[in-house]
């Protein structure tokens, strides 16, 4: 076996999970190199639009249509994409991928160090055994190799490190986190909560659990409620790799980070049955290099990591690295994500708010909690994010007829509030919801393009329909003046909760990774981003990715020290 290495560990990707892997591994004394395909970005200094005054934002905040149509036709669909954040996002024209017109997939990607952790929605929720046992109980997908107890302490550890504000509710389907003080609901949400909970005894509306600090944490300041997190936060009030994990890793003196570094594939050595090297292309010079390490953590995003594995073919692994099971790229999932219903009320004309809350409300799953409910036609369930907000000038101006003094005065004070509920539905793992490498098309580095073949099926659509119906009924129960069911959302990928493709499992014949995110066949390869997921739950997944990463890093170092990696 090789005796000298460039690094102890290489982490591919610097987003939510790459940052966590680097932090844990460096703090345990390993020399770590992060390879990030995106551009360099410095915390604070490069948040060039942070607190940009409204009058300095191009085109009054309207989309630069020509540019978006040419360079950002996919990315510009994201709510967090606009002229104040465009510099963080991937250029679609330069990074093409493949899907059939009838089966679109939105692959939303960052193009900077820190990845999507810069622009993420920051909602964090624990899984419960309702989620970890779901595959086993209803037979979709394969059983998870872990249960809530295996990850519980890692959730706590991650939450205390990243800072999570929220309200303890003691719900079995949504375990409480380690909370900083909760943000307030606004006065309209408070009334709606009361009315929904009175009408539905088994339902609960709580404030969103969010990785924004309500109290200072270490060097990081508390939220100042400016409301535009996705532009970057120089006081580090929300969790990102830049505010939390990368500084911690740098502090150890053990971290190296190379931006503009596209990983083409991993080299497998059949003699030692280990990853021998990582093949890298410099995105600026196009220069190729090979870097060696004792172990590799793939944290390149769900699709990115699967692409790297599929593109790492050898005699030993002709169908992609760690793919003896043949399941690599299969069982891909996202969450259905759409406004289910909105309601409008004129009941609270004098109510307003102070500060822009970077958070909404959450209405946890209430379907199929104890086996299949008798009155539903789908497996598993959904939760709602939501928010009540007053209709301010931009909404009211377009609807207020006329012009002149009366028109101007009519815009002075919001008269109506709108309440929206957006359902996030669990998607089942299907073998033929998959990504693969296109056999002809390559990208600008010569790497085969990813082809997406992912659609929602009957279970997802029935669940979405129920979420729409329930949301509308709850808003009616909350005495909203006008309720409009909506229901339809974007294509898969829209929730940016893509998961699966290199799932964990007990059986190497049916899964890519073991219970510690380690490749079944390759002791020094760990994959800890969303690709490891064997099912999708209905809650936002990033917290679980982080907890799994920290857990896997702990295991990896223990194994390394025992000479087993």
């Amino acid at each position: 076996m090789q005796s000298s290495f460039d690094f102890d560990a290489i982490v591919v990707g610097s987003g939510v999970t790459g940052g966590w892997a680097a932090k844990e591994l460096t703090e345990k004394g390993l020399k770590v190199l992060i390879l990030e395909r995106g551009k360099p970005l410095e915390h604070g200094k490069d948040y060039v639009t942070e607190h940009m005054e409204p009058w300095k934002i191009p085109f009054g905040g309207k989309p630069n249509r020509e540019l978006y149509a040419r360079d950002y036709p996919i990315q510009s669909n994201c709510y967090a994409f606009d002229e104040t954040t465009r510099h963080f996002w991937n250029n679609d024209r330069e990074n093409p991928y493949v899907f059939d017109k009838e089966k679109p997939f939105y692959w939303l990607r960052a193009d900077v160090v820190g990845g999507k952790s810069l622009m993420w929605g920051r909602q964090v929720y624990r899984w419960s055994d309702l989620d970890f046992e779901a595959n086993k109980k209803d037979g979709h997908g394969i059983d998870w190799p872990i249960r809530y107890n295996d990850i519980k302490d890692w959730y706590s550890y991650v939450e205390k490190t990243i800072g999570v504000s929220g309200q303890a509710e003691n719900l079995s389907q949504l375990p409480d986190s380690e909370f900083q003080p909760a943000m307030q609901m606004n006065s309209v949400e408070k009334v709606i909560k009361q009315r929904i909970e009175a009408a539905y005894k088994e339902r609960k509306m709580t404030i969103g659990r969010v990785a924004n600090l309500t109290e200072p944490l270490g060097d990081r300041g508390a939220c100042h409620y400016c409301g535009v997190c996705q532009r970057g936060c120089s006081v580090g009030a929300y969790f990102s790799s830049h505010s939390c994990t990368l500084p911690a890793a740098r502090k150890t003196g053990n971290l190296s980070l190379r931006a503009n570094s596209v990983v083409e594939g991993l080299d497998y050595d059949p003699a030692s049955k280990r990853i021998a090297a990582v093949r890298v292309i410099d995105s600026v010079t196009k220069e190729k290099s090979r870097i060696t390490a004792r172990m590799v953590f793939l944290c390149a995003s769900t699709v990115g990591s699967v692409q790297i594995l599929l593109n790492s073919k050898s005699e030993s692994f002709p169908n992609g690295l760690a793919n003896r099971s043949g399941t690599l790229g299969q069982y891909m999932m996202d969450h259905t994500d759409n406004i289910s219903a909105i309601g409008i009320t004129g009941e609270f004309p004098g109510k307003y708010y102070y500060g822009i809350r970077p958070n909404g409300i959450y209405l946890p799953r209430f379907r199929n909690l104890k086996g299949r409910d008798t009155d539903v036609d789908f497996e598993r369930g959904y939760g709602f994010q939501g928010m009540a907000m007053p209709l301010e000038w931009k909404a009211s101006a377009a609807q207020t007829p006329g012009f002149g003094v009366a028109f101007k005065n009519a815009l002075r004070q919001p008269k109506l509030w709108v309440m929206a509920l957006a359902g996030f539905g669990e998607c089942l793992p299907y073998k033929d919801n998959r990504i693969l490498l296109d056999d002809k098309l390559v990208d600008r580095y010569g790497i085969p393009q990813v082809r997406f073949e992912i659609t929602y099926r009957d279970n997802e659509l029935r669940m979405q329909a129920d979420a729409t119906k329930q949301a509308a009924e709850m808003l009616k129960a909350a005495k909203m003046g006008f309720v409009m069911p909506v229901g339809k959302g974007g294509p898969p990928g829209s929730a940016i909760h893509e998961m699966g493709g290199a799932r964990m499992g007990l059986d190497p014949k049916q899964s890519v990774l073991n219970a510690h995110n380690q490749a079944h066949d390759i002791s020094n390869l760990f994959v800890t981003d969303g690709s490891c997921m064997a099912s999708s739950s209905c809650v936002n997944p990033s917290l679980t990715f982080m907890a799994l990463t920290a857990r896997a890093a702990d295991y990896a170092v223990t194994q390394l020290r025992a000479g087993k990696v």
Binding site: E53, W55, I57, P58, F59, G60, G61, K62, P63, N64, R65, Y79, G121, M183, Q184, S187, H224, Y225, C226, G227, V228, D337, N338, I339, I344, G346, G350, K351, Y352, Y353, G355, I356, R357, P358, G360, M387, M389, L391, E392, W393, K394, A397, A398, Q399, G402, F403, G404, V405, K408, P414, V418, A420, A422, G481, F482, M484, V486, G490, A495, N540
Partner: protein, 198 residues
């Protein structure tokens, strides 16, 4: 407030898009000193646009559209943001105001008095009301506006956007407070008296 009006408001909200954080859909603006990349208005159309903008948002106890720099914003958007079709609709709309005034009052729009100009703009609004947008009313991915909306709709939208996203609008018509430092969910509107700019 009838059902139809509320529906329209709801549609506008949907257009703003909602994911985890509705509040993150930043409403934004431009400096009142914004300059179009090329001069697109002659002296006459510049003056006409300024008059129209001020008619939509006049000076009251708070500044009007001209003081906020909305006319320059409108010219920049017409020159640099509109596509050819939208630009055509805009210029045709201004011309039709003149046509209306010449027919009704035998003089150009700018030569008319306030009452006559108001009649002309009301006529423009009336014809705009009959327009039915081809864009679906409820579509959360509707990030791009309907390019075929009539002149009055375009003029009003740009005036309102230019006004409220200007520094004058943000600080005087709205309340600009980029560092609130705390969140209070139960806050009487009267304590601030104006909507927030953010």
């Amino acid at each position: 407030m009838n059902r139809r009006e509320i529906l329209k408001i709801a549609a506008a909200i949907m257009g703003a898009g909602l994911s985890g954080s509705l509040s993150q859909n930043v409403l934004a603006g431009l400096s009142p000193t914004a300059k179009p990349s090329r001069a697109i208005f002659n002296a006459n159309s510049s003056k006409t646009v300024a008059v129209l903008a001020e008619m939509i948002i006049p000076k009251t106890d708070t500044p009007g559209a001209i003081e906020a720099g909305a006319p320059a914003f409108i010219e920049m958007m017409v020159a640099d943001w509109f596509n050819d079709d939208e630009r055509k609709i805009f210029f045709a709309g201004m011309a039709s105001l003149d046509d209306f005034c010449k027919e009704q009052f035998k003089k150009s729009f700018l030569a008319c008095d306030e009452e006559q100009r108001t009649a002309a703009l009301k006529d423009s609004e009336k014809s705009a009301l009959s327009y039915k947008s081809a864009a679906p009313a409820v579509d959360i991915s509707q990030k791009y506006v309907d390019p075929n909306t009539p002149f009055f709709t375009k003029l009003k939208e740009l005036t309102v956007l230019g006004y409220f996203t200007s520094e004058v609008g943000a600080k005087q018509a709205l309340s600009y407070n980029p560092m609130p430092m705390r969140y209070e969910g139960d806050y009487d509107f009267d304590k601030v008296g104006r909507e927030w700019s953010w």
